[in-house]
Amino acid sequence: MDSNSFDAVVGPRSEDLLPASATTSVKVVVVGGFGVGKTTMVGAVSEIEPMTTEETMTRAGEGVDHLVGVPDKSETTVAMDFGRISLNDRLVLYLFGAPGQQRFWFLWQGLFEGALGAVVLVDTRRLEACFDVLGRLEEGGVPFLVAVNRFPDAPRHSLDEIRAALDLPEHVPLITCDARDRDSSRGVLMSLARFLHSIALTTEAS
């Protein structure tokens, strides 16, 4: 896009405009490996077509070389999908789908800062993909729950088995969902909100 084309930037459709009364925004991050259904979940609950935001990776480093198809560039851009839910006239929730792989963690600093919490989306066929993510969230003090996206062809493990395999502490909610389904994905967000509320209650009481 050259500079002049900014004159032609098309903004939100009229039905996508937030009301003038919108004053507060919050965010929740859905994090997980490739193909686990982050974008699907964001799209299932979003009131707008999922959009894409970009961050620039300025740090050339280990673990990225093999991915970068442009060896002469020192900057690479990584894209994140996000959606939006107007919770009431005043309050807007943004939902970001963040890649969980370690090489994307440079994105995380600003993303998780100020986030209400996170949904770690997992695929039972590739449980190991989320080990690093879980550790990182715990270290960062980000409250999260784990949602198992039930793929039709995935083996059916019990939640107890999955909890054990993930070495997930008892206090972390573990639920199943179908990321394609609006009500199911909304249920995941409700579970997260209830979990956060219970944490806030405990904090307030102490």
Binding site: V26, T77, G110
Partner: protein
Amino acid sequence: MKEADHEWHDDGPERLYVITGGRSGTAAPEALDLVTLVISRAQPAPGMQPERAAIVRLCRAPLSVAELTAYLRLPFSAVAVLVADLMAEGAVETRSSVPPVADLRLLEEVMDGLEQL
């Protein structure tokens, strides 16, 4: 693999350098978040840099910084610089800062809102 299609692509750093005058988002005085809501307080001024005019135009209704980055196809770091400049000029204001700690009332509002979807 829908995600993989656009997860990686290259963007010209030179272009961003020109747009932001070589400054990076980390130098922005205001702590802008991806979800900070921006709203215009003025019409785009004649002769305004096209990117800035576009932001002023897009923010006639409240719009998050994340949505701005998507419509402008610019990274957060660049949009943050432009929005901070526009704030300093009084052309836009931010309406929403992310609460430092999620309080009970806010979480109850979130639950109520999700229930009514």
